[in-house]
Amino acid sequence: MLLRQVEYARPGTVDEAVRLLSSREDARALAGGQSLVNVMKTRVAAPELLVDLNRIDELRDVSTGPAGELVIGAMVTYDELIRSDAVRAARPILADVAVTIADVQVRNRGTVGGNLCSNDPTNHLPPLMATTGASMTIRSLEAERTVGADDFFQGVYLTAVTPGEMLIRVTVPTLGPAEGDGWASVTLGRDGTGIVNVAATVSAGRARIAIGCVSATPVVVEADADEVAVPKAVADASLDPPDDVHASADYRRHLAQVLAWRAVKQALEGAA
């Protein structure tokens, strides 16, 4: 497939990248390219300038901060996330879920930042950011700011990252002693696109639940972490999920309740 004519630049630093991204109205950051290159083929996206972030070493690190929190560079791939000892120690759910994204080749290229910034409602990482209390750090030419998941995810394919800005890292608090994470999903085939995804984190008997695939952004629900309260809280959230060839809206509402409890149950096992 021949793409529309496009300009290309390969910055070596974040400073260069934000300067390039600010230089044109229609500049796009190219992360793993596992979504963007495909939508460019179909002409759904036709940016004038691609700013390739793949050679910016400062975005490729996973490290542990002073309080044990995980600091994940925006260009860390799913494969690197899966293999990271720091992730395994601080927040293993991220690796457990990343290993179910698409396939080996996509995991070798696809990135954490790309997953979050594309914010497709079926993406795996947005619900996890919402339950784990992650924060996203965004750079522009002038400033750096950090936002929580509630403010970061704004709509379908829409985040707090505005033109001229870029996501540089994600900070995820380490799991506390009596805390646990869970994940449950029903997908189109093994490791396929989600029909409904649910992430959950349990802390001191309370569950924070984020439901993906049912709205433009993850729907967050809180409840006591038990088998009655969790489905009830999800039912009370009056979800208005899409109705399509893969599942009716009613079935998605049903799945959301069932999967929420499964995710919370896993989180409780982890917390015990």
Partner: protein
């Protein structure tokens, strides 16, 4: 700061040979490999990133070459299906196992399957059937000949 360009000279090592060539920024890696370097073993199947027929090894990891720009491969080392066999044409144990197990019908998916399976066995010398199936998840065989493909990978792993 690097200036935006629509064409760039890239240097890529493919199967041990260095290719230096000016390419358009919009050219996909798979087209560079097939049309410029003339290695047509790497196939274009779906062109949507689903089928894996265009899989190559880039710096040791499998990637779908239809989802990368050729300019992104600048400086990298790539192995295509043509680069698997030895210089004397001796097939790898995996290729021999594909032949022995009749792990292909039309053969269109075979180059991608071989690279994914090569990568799998590099990562995990003795994969279970489940691990093999997940290892080739990004490669679609439209003849649905998976049973023999899995069998061949198992045979190659047992011989390793």
């Amino acid at each position: 700061m690097p200036e935006p360009v629509t064409e760039q000279t890239i240097r890529v090592t493919i199967n041990g040979e260095v290719y230096e060539q000016e390419v358009e920024a919009r050219k996909l890696l798979v087209h560079f490999i097939r049309d410029v370097v003339d290695l047509t073993g790497t196939h274009v199947g779906c062109d949507t990133g689903n089928c894996g027929a265009c899989t190559v090894l880039m710096d040791g990891k499998t990637v779908k070459s239809c989802m990368l720009l050729a300019v992104q491969a600048d400086g990298s080392t790539i192995t295509t299906v043509e680069g698997l066999a030895g210089a004397d044409g001796e097939l790898t144990p995996l290729q021999k196992a594909f032949s022995a197990s009749h792990a292909l019908q039309c053969g269109y998916c075979t180059p991608g399957m071989l690279l994914s399976a090569t990568y799998l066995l590099e990562q995990n010398r003795h994969p279970s059937e489940e691990e093999i199936r997940r290892g080739i998840q990004g490669n679609i065989c439209r003849c649905t000949g998976y049973v023999n493909i899995v069998e061949a990978i198992k045979t190659a792993a047992e011989g390793a």
